[in-house]
């Protein structure tokens, strides 16, 4: 049983859960994710392992409420147990010493970015992080990222915190200022797409971590397929990180909408039911 031992809201829509999972805490590496089900009727949803405590046997998950499953997850309380939790899944990030790393995180994408930033820093790299969100209260994990970065730049769309502007503006500033050896971008697909376009212009090798739709997470269904360098890959077993300059982001964006009507309907029904109960 995977009991929730800690819960904290970073903002109205972003929740952190610390969950008991001793085997996964031990086996996981930066870049890995898990798949969980909240209940017997639940969907299998993928979430990145933001951090882990091997001694306590716990892993930390950070989820943004976007639909039925993440809403249900955010409603779980300390002491409750997840119905299922499986992992660690996906290829681990290949971390080595390369020099200076530019780490770009958008919205809840900062959660999966955190263990990678930590890994790069520990490997002896200079790490510059750019955190971006629509507004101040959507900036998460800033302190944790600061702990493992040489410099942190915060960007908000509305200027309510840090600098006003998009992640790409912050990134370009850095790129113009000093030599960047590698870039990693994690966030909404559209943010990764534009970050990739930017770094391509400057010829900076870039990795992006994709949040495709998944079912099993073990290579069995092909729901998570993406085109990388003209070839079809499965995000769950071949990724989730890929060479961002090779990813067909437009196809990826289209595929993320593959179940949008069903999801929207389910979400409306779910919220209606909640309102009726309230």
């Amino acid at each position: 049983m995977n009991r929730i031992v800690e819960k904290e809201f970073f903002s109205e829509n972003v929740v952190k859960l610390v969950v008991e999972a001793p085997k996964i805490a031990k086996a996981r590496k930066p870049g890995n994710f898990i798949i969980l089900r909240v209940s017997k009727e639940g969907e299998r949803i993928p979430l990145t392992i933001a951090s882990a405590d091997e001694d306590k046997g716990t892993i930390t998950l950070i989820a943004q409420k976007v639909g039925v499953s993440t809403e249900k997850l955010a409603k779980m309380e300390v002491g409750d147990s997840l119905h299922d939790l499986v992992g660690p899944l996906g290829k681990a990030t290949e971390i080595h010493k390369v020099g200076t790393i530019l780490a770009c995180g958008g919205g809840v994408g900062v959660a999966p970015l955190l263990p990678i930033v930590e890994g790069y820093k520990k490997a002896g790299n200079r790490v510059i992080s750019v955190l971006a969100a629509r507004s101040k209260d959507l900036i998460i994990l800033e302190d944790e990222i600061r702990k493992w970065s040489d410099e942190v730049i915060v960007m908000t769309d509305d200027g309510s915190y840090g600098k006003k502007g998009l992640v790409t503006q912050g990134a370009e500033e850095i790129i113009n200022r000093e030599k960047i050896d590698e870039c990693i971008a994690i966030g909404p697909a559209i943010m990764m797409k534009f970050t990739a376009l930017l770094t391509k212009k400057y010829n900076i090798p870039t990795q992006a971590s994709l949040n495709s739709i998944m079912v099993d997470g073990t290579g069995m269904c092909g729901a998570c397929r993406v085109t990388v360098g003209g070839k079809t890959k499965f995000t769950c077993v071949d990724g989730p990180e890929f060479d961002a300059h090779q990813i067909d982001f437009d196809e990826m964006l289209m595929r993320l909408g593959g179940y949008s009507e069903e999801e929207k309907k389910a979400y409306e029904e779910f919220m209606n039911r909640l309102n009726l109960q309230a």
Binding site: K23, L89, C221, V237, M254, G258
Partner: protein
């Protein structure tokens, strides 16, 4: 050691069987027409995903069908069964009304008779080799139906016998994956006294039996009851556990596991790599069937969504294709079409499934293959271009190779496409064991005793054979159990 032939003769010489043979004259037996399986009406059954099509034989039907069997001196039917079930023995037990005995006969060789009776391709196995088929050119004894009857009778009678287990020897062994190969391995090892744990990556036990084969063909409850049997015998199950990820082989060896059976299946879907195949609304049969069968997507109570189509095309001609196309019909498709590149006779699906599909109004577009997909402005597939084929020379499989007819392309409207053109071996285990010998196709190489190039690792089922059948997987599991027992007893 007695040979199989000697054993069979000894069984055949039992007094009751000799008596029973005298009860009816040969002609009287061969004049009985083959039983018809009672089925739910096609118009009714297409409304439900979880209503089993075949209702099962009544006691009268089963006894009458059993009396067709000639109790042959040379029962060729057994040669057609991959696990050599003593067919005349169990059939004759049904004829004389000893249904529990019949079930016990089956369980000597098959861990899941209620499953095999339902899903074995009997027409290519036991029934193909039946005296009726071979010599009389008549319809064979309905061995599959009778097998199902005996297994169901035992379950429904509530007197399921839990087979006796040897004294515990305390030796820990692991089965990886919970498909039929692992389950039959686990059943045999627990009987031999081992401490058996089955590890499964998904949240349900059963492998393809749960996530693949739909309820209208194999109810999950039937599978669960057979699993309950194994649990009672002491087999432990760990779901949500991916060997090689959640824990490595080394970790498990440190925990004291002395032997491993890999039954990780051939779960990876193949696509055709044709233009437009990644549009929304084009999915693998694995994804489609998993959403519906494992995740309950057809039921509003469950959160997992499934796409419903008006015009659904399913590419392929195997059981997976048949299961997908019939599922689509049940989820409300107006047109549900099989698109298969060879002709009807080459379809690898079970004959009964093709017949059922036809009754349910499934359309068959044979000798046709998709070459490109088109989509609307949201990226949802709306059209498929197919090319027609003709049959050329036989290929390696002995079937005539389909050859495209130039200029024969035609477009058809579709809003959901299920690709069911085959699966590849699951690469997870080979990927984490560099010393493990695998073939060019990614299947694990094993000797006749199912032992791999790493002595403590045995393997069987689809990970060894590529896509095969439930009964072959079960046979491998049994064979591996026997060999591992010998290996660990040295």
């Amino acid at each position: 050691m007695t040979t199989l032939a000697e054993y069979l003769k000894e069984r055949r010489d039992q007094e009751w069987r000799a008596e029973l043979r005298k009860k009816l004259k040969g002609k009287e037996r061969t004049n009985i027409p083959r039983v018809k399986m009672p089925e739910v009406d096609p118009n009714e059954r297409v409304k439900f995903q979880n209503v089993e099509v075949n209702l099962g034989l009544s006691i009268e039907q089963a006894q009458r069908e059993a009396s067709r069997c000639m109790d042959c001196v040379n029962p060729t039917c057994i040669e057609g069964c991959p696990v050599q079930i003593n067919i005349p023995e169990f059939v004759k037990n049904i004829e004389r009304g000893e249904y529990g005995q019949a079930a016990s006969n089956l369980k000597l060789t098959s861990a899941l008779p209620a499953v095999c009776g339902r899903v074995c391709p009997q027409e290519k196995q036991c029934e193909e080799q039946c005296f009726y088929t071979l010599k009389l050119k008549k319809e064979p004894v309905a061995i599959g139906y009778l097998e199902r009857f005996a297994a169901d009778w035992e379950r429904e009678s509530g007197s399921v016998s839990v087979p006796e287990c040897a004294t515990k020897n305390g030796i820990k062994v692991a089965a990886i994956g919970s498909g039929p190969s692992s389950l039959s391995f686990a059943g045999d090892m627990i009987k031999l006294g081992y401490d058996v744990t089955v590890f499964e990556a998904l949240h349900e036990i059963g492998g393809v039996l749960k996530y693949g084969i739909p309820e209208f063909r194999l109810p999950n409850a039937t599978v669960d009851e057979e699993l309950e049997n194994l649990k009672q015998m002491g087999v432990k199950f760990e779901t949500n556990f991916i060997v090689g990820r959640t824990a490595s082989f080394d970790d498990l060896e440190k925990e004291g596991y002395k032997g491993f059976f890999v039954g990780s299946g051939a779960g990876l879907p193949r696509f055709m790599n044709i233009p437009g195949e990644n549009y929304n609304g084009i999915l693998s049969s694995n994804e489609y069937l998993t959403r519906v069968n494992l995740m309950g997507a057809a039921d509003d109570k469950f959160d997992t969504p499934v796409l419903r189509g008006k015009n659904v095309a399913v590419i392929g001609g195997g059981n997976t294709a048949m299961d997908s196309v019939r599922t689509a019909k049940r989820l409300g498709a107006e047109r549900s079409i099989i698109v298969y590149r060879r002709s009807r006779v080459e379809m690898p699906a079970r004959v009964e499934e093709v017949k059922h599909a036809e009754e349910e109004g499934i359309e068959f577009m044979n000798l046709a293959n998709p070459v490109e997909y088109f989509a609307d402005e949201n990226g949802r597939v709306n059209r498929m271009r197919v090319q027609y084929m003709e049959l050329g020379e036989p290929d390696a499989s002995g079937r005539r190779r389909p050859v495209p007819i130039e200029g024969s392309e035609k477009d058809i409207d579709v809003d959901l496409v299920i690709v069911a053109v085959g699966v590849s071996p699951n690469p997870l285990i080979p990927a984490c064991l560099p010393d493990l010998k695998v073939s060019r196709w990614g299947t694990i190489e094993v000797g006749d005793n199912m032992q791999s190039s790493i002595p403590v690792i045995f393997a069987g089922g689809d990970i060894v054979r590529g896509g095969a059948t439930v009964i072959l997987a079960m046979g491998d599991g049994r064979n591996a159990a026997q060999s591992m027992h010998e290996y660990l007893s040295k």
